[in-house]
Each structure stands twice: as structure tokens, then as C-alpha cells.
């Protein structure tokens, strides 16, 4: 496929992409390289014999992502396993017919591991042919083409709501800081809970921590009682929203749903689709959460995090990327809101 054609397919139209995915470094950096010795086949007619024989007698499991042959050259052995002057002996003692190759071996750089993205693949492919199985979803993330304009508008709306939470919570003296959080259940497209800093009361009550506890309140839980919840009026539960803020948001966002899906207290009747912690929820924050909050969101099994401004103590891009630690049992996606003029939203933060 020509590269011009591919670009057309991947980017349907030039859309504004105000949300930048925060990805693991291994997806952004070049594929690590390693050095191997290669030999040249004397007669092109014996190519298939050489490959067959090498794969049988001298397989290289750690470099299985590489093709064994490049034009008339074959991959023999990693330079870390063998000195150049020992290659001949190595091939011969392992039963390989040495007469099929020229005896001057060459050192080349190749991909040490399989490339994960197309961009990485295109770079290492130039060094030595390589297998690559593109992950469609991942490609959309790395090229930042995951959201269509409709989805972008939805995310922008919730982000502007988080900004409103920040300003209104301060006006109402609920918080002393400029930070707001909106937790959304994308399955029912509804605002489940709100958050803001209460660290003037408790140094651990950062916006995410308050939001997480407010979500718990929609599931007959919660540890911090800070407001009298609104009594249930519909089939959705409004316990996660501070009543005073809810009133204001309802006026400013008349087309947005509020409330969490009803939660069964009786474990016997519990359906698999019942809310469990923040499973499946999206969280919109005006500021990047700190390390503590980033991990709290992992524990809470959030699905996606959108944040506005980066924080000096941020755990999702600034100090570290907590969400890409492989050993953790849960991972969420993170998007930073573009801080350039392209997105007027963030200027309000």
C-alpha cells in the first residue's frame, strides 16, 4: 500500500483534536535496536535451502519478529552471543553447509523487539525486514484519530462542566481551590458524581478522592459525609452530586443527564451490569491528578481520564505515567486537553 493512500484512510478529515492521548514511552520512542551478524548467500537458487536449514539448525527465538532473509543476506547470530571470528566454526559445528555462504560476515543493526506501532515499524523495516501486526485501536490512539467530531464535542462538554464545577464550587465556598471533576457513565451518558478539592479540611481530600467517594455514595457507600444528598426523584441516583452544584449545572447544561444507574444493595440479586466502584466510568478533571489520586483512580477501575492543565506533582504525564505501569491489575486511558490556543476551554482554567 502506498503511504499516501494510507494517510487518507487513517485521517478521514482534518479535525480539531483537543484531547491528546498520554501513552507509554515504549509506544512513542523508537524501537530499541540490537546488532546481529549476517552472511551473504552465494547462489540465489539456494535461498530456500539456506533459510530452511538455518531455522532448523540455528533458530533465534529472541528475534522471532525478524525475517530471516533480506534480499540475498541471511541473519545468522546475535553479536552478543558470538565473536565475528567464531561464526564460521559455529555454523559448521551445528551442521550447516558453510559452502552456501560467502565467508565475509557483516554486522547490522536490527529491531531488538517487535515494533508496536506503524511509525516504529516503518523505521525498523528499513534496517531489516520485520513482522508487524498493526493493532487498529492502538494506531488510532498513537495517531490521535480515535474520536470523531461528535465524540470530541461530548468530551468538550463534560470538560467545560468540570471547569464550571471548579468556579462554582469556589463561589459557593465548597472549595478554596480552582479544580473541578465530573464523573460520567458513558453507557447511559449521564453525570454520576462531581468532585472538587476539600483539602482545606483534609490534606487527602484532593478533587479525585472526593469524586471517588461521591461515586461510592451512589452505591450506598461513601466515607465522607459532606452534604445532604438530593432525594431520588427519577430512576437515576443523584447522591454523587452536591445539591447546590447540581442546581447550577442543571440550568447551564439542560440537555445533559444526571445521576447514576440504580445500585442493588442485595448481593443475591446483583447483576453483572451493576455499578462496581468506577468501572466503565470516564472522569474529567480540570487538573492532572497527583500520584496518590492517579493510583486511587486505578484502584477505582476508571476507564478513561481526561484532564486539563498539567500539575507539577502530576502522576499522569508530569512526574510519571501511573496508568501505564504494566504490573498493575487495571489500566485506564488518559487524555490531556490541548493547552494551545486551539482549545479555548483550557484558557478558562
Amino acid at each position: 500500500m502506498s503511504s499516501a493512500k494510507r494517510v487518507k484512510l487513517d485521517v478521514p478529515e482534518q479535525e480539531e483534536q483537543p484531547f491528546i492521548p498520554i501513552l507509554a514511552n515504549e509506544l512513542l520512542e523508537d524501537t530499541p535496536l540490537t546488532k546481529v551478524f549476517v552472511g551473504k548467500i552465494q547462489d540465489s537458487k539456494s535461498i530456500s535451502e539456506v533459510i530452511k536449514s538455518l531455522n532448523l539448525l540455528l533458530p533465534i527465538p529472541s528475534l522471532a519478529h525478524l525475517k530471516r532473509i533480506n534480499k540475498q543476506e541471511v541473519l545468522l547470530v546475535s553479536t552478543s552471543d558470538l565473536a565475528k571470528d567464531k561464526i564460521y566454526e559455529y555454523l559448521e559445528t551445528n551442521g550447516f553447509n558453510i559452502n552456501l555462504l560467502y565467508t565475509d560476515f557483516r554486522e547490522v543493526e536490527v529491531a531488538k523487539i517487535a515494533p508496536k506501532t506503524r511509525l516504529q515499524y516503518e523505521k525498523v523495516q528499513k534496517l531489516w525486514p520485520c513482522n508487524f501486526h498493526p493493532d487498529k485501536y492502538l494506531e488510532k490512539l498513537v495517531t490521535n484519530t480515535l474520536f470523531n467530531s461528535l465524540e470530541i464535542n461530548v468530551h468538550k462538554t463534560y470538560m467545560s462542566m468540570a471547569i464550571l464545577v471548579a468556579t462554582e464550587a469556589k463561589k459557593l465556598h465548597i472549595t478554596e481551590y480552582d479544580s473541578g471533576v465530573v464523573v460520567v457513565d458513558p453507557k447511559v451518558n449521564s453525570v454520576v458524581a462531581l468532585g472538587y478539592s476539600e483539602s482545606h479540611h483534609n490534606p487527602c481530600k484532593h478533587p479525585s478522592m472526593v469524586a471517588i467517594d461521591n461515586v461510592a455514595k451512589t452505591q450506598s457507600g461513601g466515607a465522607w459525609k459532606s452534604y445532604e444528598p438530593i432525594p431520588d426523584s427519577s430512576n437515576l441516583n443523584l447522591n454523587g452530586c452536591h445539591p447546590k452544584l447540581f442546581k447550577i449545572l442543571l440550568k447551564k447544561f439542560p440537555h445533559i443527564n444526571f445521576g447514576a444507574s440504580k445500585f442493588q444493595i442485595d448481593h443475591e440479586q446483583k447483576e453483572p451490569s451493576d455499578p462496581y466502584l468506577c468501572t466503565g466510568y470516564y472522569i474529567y478533571l480540570t487538573r492532572e491528578p497527583c500520584i496518590m489520586c492517579a493510583m486511587a483512580l486505578i484502584h477505582s477501575r476508571v476507564k478513561r481520564v481526561f484532564y486539563g492543565k498539567s500539575s507539577d506533582n502530576g502522576g499522569l504525564g508530569t512526574l510519571y505515567k501511573i496508568h501505564v505501569i504494566k504490573d498493575l491489575n487495571h489500566h485506564y486511558e488518559v487524555f490531556r486537553t490541548l493547552c494551545e490556543n486551539k482549545c479555548e476551554l483550557v484558557n478558562e482554567l
Binding site: N202, P203, C204, M209, I212, D213, V215, A216, Q219, S220, G221, G222, A223, H267, K270, E271, P272, D274, Y276, L277, C278, T279, C290, I291, M292, C293, M295, A296, I298, H299, S300, R301, N313, G315, L319, Y320, I322, I325, D327, L328, N329
Partner: protein, 180 residues
């Protein structure tokens, strides 16, 4: 793995008598958590050799995954300070934490940010540990001294007992119904 001068979490450690007493208390609350079908982690906060706060995991009770034993103790100390008109920030920096399991990344960050004086724990936390899984001290330069490895096997056994049983709050696994 952290090998900072003020942190030692890899060794099996022996504790002074008064520290052993505090750890025994922490184990008491860990076992209590297990009885309540919570992840069995127990924690106590000590100030000038007095126990000021005790905590055990309350995640399932509160439906809040951040209600770890350490976070509950922090809230208790805060309450104590408010009730007695004490300076929380100052007081907490003289607190020694005894906890049966290495604090997770979240709790380690919270405790480091509060300048807790020391943390003594039982077993390592291979799932979430704030040193073992990701070394929080690399980015939040703490003044806190961390040591671990006291009665580690016992602390780990408690966790294993819990994970053998089913977490009552976890959603039921989706069962695929075969079409007949």
C-alpha cells in the same frame, strides 16, 4: 526496587520490643478486616509511643476503593487534631506508621506528602506496592524512613486467605450460555 539509604524493604527485620507490640496491634486489625470480608491489612499510627489511630481496610463497606487502612488512620488523626485543637501538619510529621502490608502507591504518596516520620511494614505488596511495583520515593522525595520484612509470611498468609475466598463486592463473572 528502592535501595535508598533511608529505606530497606528487602531484608527480614527484627524490631525492638515496643515496635513488636505495635505490629501485633496492626495484625489484630488485619485479622479483624478478614473477619469483615475486607482485604486483611491493619495499620496503627503512633505518636510519642501512644497509639493515636487504628485502621483496617474498609473498601467493601464504603464501596470506595481508596479506603485503605492507612487512609482511615490519617482521617482519625485529623479528627483527633480538630477535636483537641492541635496542629495536624506538625503532629503528623512525628507519627510512626505500623502496617501489616507495604503501603500501595496511593498510600505511600499520601504518607510521604504528609512527611510521616517512619513506616514499618510486614510483607511486600506485589500487586500495588509503593516501593515494589513503582518506587514513589523516586518522584516524591520523602523524609519518611521505610523498613519492612517483619512477620512477612504471616501477613502474606492473611492476604492469601482472603483471596482464596471470594471478594463479596466484585461483580459476578459473565457466564456464557451455550446455544443448544
Amino acid at each position: 526496587m528502592s535501595n535508598d539509604a533511608n529505606s530497606d524493604i528487602s531484608a527480614v527485620i527484627t524490631l525492638a520490643d515496643h515496635e513488636q507490640y505495635f505490629m501485633e496491634k496492626a495484625f489484630f486489625y488485619a485479622r479483624q478486616a478478614l473477619d469483615k470480608q475486607e482485604v486483611p491489612v491493619g495499620c496503627i499510627f503512633v505518636y510519642e509511643n501512644n497509639i493515636l489511630a487504628v485502621g483496617r481496610n474498609e473498601v467493601n463497606k464504603t464501596k470506595n476503593a481508596t479506603r485503605h487502612a492507612e487512609m482511615i488512620c490519617i482521617d482519625e488523626i485529623l479528627k483527633h487534631c480538630k477535636e483537641n485543637d492541635l496542629d495536624f501538619k506538625k503532629m503528623i510529621s512525628f507519627v510512626d506508621v505500623y502496617v501489616t502490608v507495604e503501603p500501595c502507591i496511593m498510600c505511600a504518596a499520601a504518607l510521604f506528602n504528609l512527611n510521616i516520620r517512619s513506616i514499618t511494614f510486614g510483607c511486600r505488596n506485589d500487586r500495588f506496592g509503593g516501593s515494589t511495583v513503582y518506587d514513589v520515593s523516586k518522584v516524591i522525595k520523602p523524609t519518611t524512613v521505610v523498613k519492612g520484612g517483619y512477620r512477612a509470611c504471616e501477613a502474606m498468609e492473611l492476604l492469601k486467605d482472603f483471596y482464596k475466598g471470594q471478594n463479596p463486592n466484585a461483580p459476578l463473572p459473565k457466564v456464557r450460555i451455550k446455544k443448544s
